[in-house]
């Protein structure tokens, strides 16, 4: 049976390496940002960069950029679910 693999999108080595270099740069940025005296914003800053890094890994390395709408929607649902679990717990923890 001819499988559907053969028409799938192939990522060039160049693109992959470029992504990797960007990730390394962002890693350096993460370390740098936490050396600055930003108080509690350090956590949010580091988290924001972590989200950027993970976005790159998901989009390029994990191919999500080239997948259909369905998979992207489902990923969003999973992330939304986790956010709700964390967020609603804070309704308790923040207001005791």
């Amino acid at each position: 049976m001819k499988s559907e693999n053969s028409s799938a999108h192939i990522l060039s080595y160049g693109k992959l390496v470029a992504t990797w270099l960007t990730l390394l740069a962002l890693t350096a940025l993460t370390v740098a940002i936490t050396r600055l005296d930003l108080g509690s914003y350090k956590v949010w800053g580091a988290l924001a960069i972590a989200c950027l890094k993970s976005g790159l890994v998901i989009a390029i390395f994990m191919h999500m950029r080239y997948e259909g709408r369905l998979l992207r929607l489902l990923l969003f649902v999973a992330l939304l679910t986790l956010s709700i679990f964390i967020g609603f717990t804070f309704f308790d923890v923040l207001y005791r």
């Binding site: 990923l75 999973a78 717990t89």
Partner: protein, 200 residues
């Protein structure tokens, strides 16, 4: 009567992503705890973070990012039919994984040598927030490390199949799914790193 069973490439990939969602939620449970206790013990978490070696953490982050690069390149290589390169790249990923685990081993043994482990007298005597920080650190990095081991074994098995020819340029979803799993392991660490090593 019955038609031959086709392989469902899109279905296999969908199934794998669904499995990755479960892993996301699994680690998510520990991140829920982290978030709550960070809000409660900001100073103790910072103090705990300072006791972790940020250089080792950074090196490990670079190692895992590189391992992700290698396995992503392995997929491209196999799609292009470059079998030897594929196996070489997967081996590179596994070597990175081994490096990661070696550094982890040194980190853990150093901490344990200093009396910092779950339920240790040192932690019991110290501020409660620090005990929580380190318990979470051990649980999270421990379960993450377990996934590194599982991922390595999975990729090694897939590499054997590539060598054997049962995973090839016409049917490589197994490698793709193995790579997806590996990227997830990398993703979790992308969050562990700043939250534990850089909350200074």
């Amino acid at each position: 009567m019955s038609q031959p069973h086709h392989k469902d490439y899109a279905g296999a990939k969908l199934g794998m992503w669904l499995f990755l969602f479960t892993e996301l939620l699994l680690f998510g449970g520990m991140f829920i705890l982290y978030a709550v206790y960070l809000a409660r013990y900001p100073h103790e978490f910072a103090a705990g973070g300072k006791q972790l070696h940020w250089v080792m953490g950074t090196v490990n982050t670079v190692i895992l990012l590189t391992s992700s690069l290698f396995v992503a390149m392995a997929v491209t290589a196999l799609q292009r039919g470059e079998v030897r390169r594929t196996i070489g790249l997967i081996s590179g990923t596994i070597i990175c994984a081994a490096g990661f685990l070696v550094i982890k081993y040194f980190e853990w043994s150093a901490k344990i040598g200093h009396g910092i482990f779950p339920g240790s007298p040192h932690l019991k005597e110290g501020p409660p927030g620090e005990s929580v920080f380190f318990s979470l650190y051990y649980m999270t990095t421990g379960i993450h490390g377990l996934h590194v081991v599982i991922g390595s074994i999975l990729l090694a098995w897939i590499a054997l199949k590539v060598k054997h020819g049962s995973v090839h340029s016409g049917d490589y979803v197994l490698l793709e799914n193995g790579a997806l799993y590996w990227h997830l392991v990398d993703l979790i660490w992308i969050f562990i790193f700043p939250l534990y090593y850089l909350v200074l």
